[in-house]
């Protein structure tokens, strides 16, 4: 099993690693040029913001497009249960900067934007201190942009729109040339550039009914069960896992516990590690009410640019809430099935698609809970 790499070094609770510590632990930043793209492709690294897009392919595409792209280090982390991006920025800011500077070097960019969630003050402070420690030729490339605390602000298209035009909304207009990469992805790039091979680890956030919720760096071959064990085990019997956050899927706990976290392997099974959230749902909680709460949240996070997303997600959340608050009825269950497929693919961005995939996983994983749900007051969401 791979040892933790991103979070190696000084104790995580003792603040950010300094530039001197960083360089003495890992050595200086190698200047690899275009060959780095081949290394990234060979390493199989995929984006860790949620979409698991192959990083080598993305860099190759950006390089071909030419121009001088803006490099966006995406640390918006708007996913409600995810904590890994802000932990990484707070504790190992220089790894993120290394990755961003490598991208700028390889892609001939003169602009690096650190796109950091506006409520992640510790992460922002650590990143700004780290930038100040870097030599002037690197420091001068960097600008920090506060990402609004809305779910869609983390969308790569919205991130580009934000750093170029100031408005964090997804848009269908042709975006400025840019490379948007999640901060964890950039940290992996920094290690791959030095070692030449895949890091083999992934950052996850264990949430819900585990003894010690929080961020862990684990081997990509480890299973959900081993993550739960590392997080101190379950506090009560688990019913299901929300794998990948709100744009991920509910998976029955017995099935999930044997799953390996490798993003590519999960993709092949029709699942996603998404942003790395592993949320445990205790048997004592009601999956229908949890799902209704999350659907309500996602409907409220529609940027109301596309009718099918705004009205469709609201209608789905309403039907879900009726089942949760007034009890199961065949009419609403039928609507949820039918309408879900009507909404998917009809937005300018992937927000409605993500919400629908989440809902469909709930209907698939908890069919009898939805069919026999009896009215009770909605409980707090997971």
């Amino acid at each position: 099993m791979n040892e933790p790499r991103l979070l190696a070094g000084r104790d995580l609770r003792s603040g950010a690693e300094t530039y001197a510590e960083h360089v003495s632990r890992l050595g200086p930043l190698p200047r690899r040029g275009a060959v780095l793209i081949d290394l990234l492709t060979a390493s199989g690294l995929t984006g860790r913001g949620g979409a698991a897009f192959p990083v080598g392919l993305k860099w190759r595409g950006t390089a071909r497009a030419g121009g001088s792209p803006v490099i966006v280090a995406n640390g918006a982390e708007g996913e409600p249960h995810s904590k890994k991006d802000r932990l990484l920025m707070s504790a190992r800011p220089h790894l993120v900067l290394d990755g961003a500077f490598l991208a700028a070097h390889v892609l001939r960019s003169r602009q690096v934007v650190l796109y950091i969630g506006e409520h992640h003050q510790m992460a922002r402070a650590a990143m700004e201190r780290a930038v100040a420690e870097r030599p002037p030729h690197e420091r001068d490339l960097v600008r920090v942009f506060s990402a609004p605390a809305r779910y869609v602000a983390g969308d790569s298209n919205a991130a580009v729109h934000a750093v170029t035009a100031g408005i964090a909304l997804p848009t269908t207009l042709k975006p400025a040339p840019a490379l948007v990469q999640n901060v964890e992805t950039l940290a992996h790039v920094a290690l791959i550039a030095r070692t030449g091979h895949a890091t083999g680890t992934v950052l996850v956030t264990a949430a819900g009914s585990v003894a010690h919720p929080g961020v862990l760096e684990v081997d990509t071959r480890s299973t959900v069960a081993s993550v739960v064990a590392s997080a101190g085990g379950v506090t009560e019997p688990a019913r299901a896992v929300l794998l990948g956050g709100y744009f991920g899927a509910w998976v029955d706990y017995d099935r999930a516990s044997e799953l390996q976290l490798d993003p590519t392997a999960l993709k092949d099974r029709g699942l996603t590690l998404g942003c790395g959230v592993i949320g445990l749902l205790a048997s004592s909680r009601c999956p229908v009410c949890e799902t209704a709460g999350i659907m309500r949240y996602l409907a409220g996070e529609s940027s109301a640019q596309c009718g099918p997303c705004f009205f469709g997600l609201r209608a789905l959340a309403d039907a879900c809430s009726r089942v949760a608050n007034q009890g199961a009825n065949a009419q609403d269950l039928g609507r949820l099935e039918r309408w879900a497929s009507e909404v998917a693919g009809r937005g300018g961005c992937r927000h409605p698609d993500g919400a629908v995939m989440f809902l469909q996983s709930a209907l698939r994983t908890f069919p009898s809970d939805f069919a026999h749900h009896s009215a009770h007051t909605a409980r707090r969401t997971a």
Binding site: F145, S146, P148, R150, V152, A153, A158, A162, A165, G166, I167, A168, L169, T172, L173, S302, S303, A304, Q305, G307, P308, F310, F311, G312, R314, A315, D318, W339, E342, V343, R346, G348
Partner: protein
């Protein structure tokens, strides 16, 4: 007789196109006034609007192709493309060509709306209010079936539905929860620095 089949198909497809197009216009208007209920939320209306619009084009193509290839009419392809170039009922057939070409423009611009931008798309989409009456005029002017009771009833129902819906739209005035919601959302993510 194949000739008769083509001729009946032309007339039938024309009538079906009129009904479908009127339904598309009514659904589009229901969409703009944001009418919905728990049983029938708005995104279903817009989905139906889109799907029936595409179906209408299929029937219009059928209507035009069968008319042109029918050896009895001897119209030629040019008459189907260039308005008022037909020897046969020059004015009324020309109106049909104009209506069809407007509809093609409206559908194509809708399919590439993302590239085009909302404002341009919307301006072109307003042409529906020209295309629909021109199409109805074409049906009434050219129509072989104009004086049959079924066609008169069908046309009257279509006109009543569209005129009723459009009248409601213009009397009801602008009401757009999507724009209201979007303006609020945009405000929450707008970080442009004030000068």
């Amino acid at each position: 007789m194949p000739n008769t089949v083509l001729w009946y198909t032309t007339r039938g497809a024309g009538a079906v196109s009129m009904v479908l197009l009127s339904a598309v216009v009514v659904l589009g208007i229901i969409g703009t006034v944001r009418a919905q209920s728990p049983r029938w939320p708005l995104f279903l209306t817009t989905g139906l609007h889109r799907n029936i619009a595409l179906t209408t084009l299929v029937f219009l193509v059928l209507h035009i192709v069968t008319a042109v290839i029918d050896p009895f009419t001897n119209l030629g392809w040019l008459a189907a493309v260039v308005p008022f170039s037909s020897y046969y009922r020059t004015l009324w057939l020309g109106l049909g060509v104009i209506a069809f070409e407007l509809l093609v423009a409206i559908v194509v611009t809708s399919l590439v709306r993302g590239v085009l931008g909302q404002k341009t798309w919307r301006a072109i989409h307003w042409l529906t209010y020209a295309a629909w009456p021109i199409g109805i005029a074409h049906g009434l002017g050219t129509g072989t079936d104009v004086w049959s009771a079924w066609f008169m009833v069908l046309t009257a129902v279509c006109i009543a539905a569209v005129v009723g819906a459009a009248g409601y739209r213009f009397l009801a005035g602008p009401f757009d929860p999507l724009t209201t919601a979007h303006t609020a959302f945009r405000g929450s993510v707008d970080r442009r620095e004030m000068p």
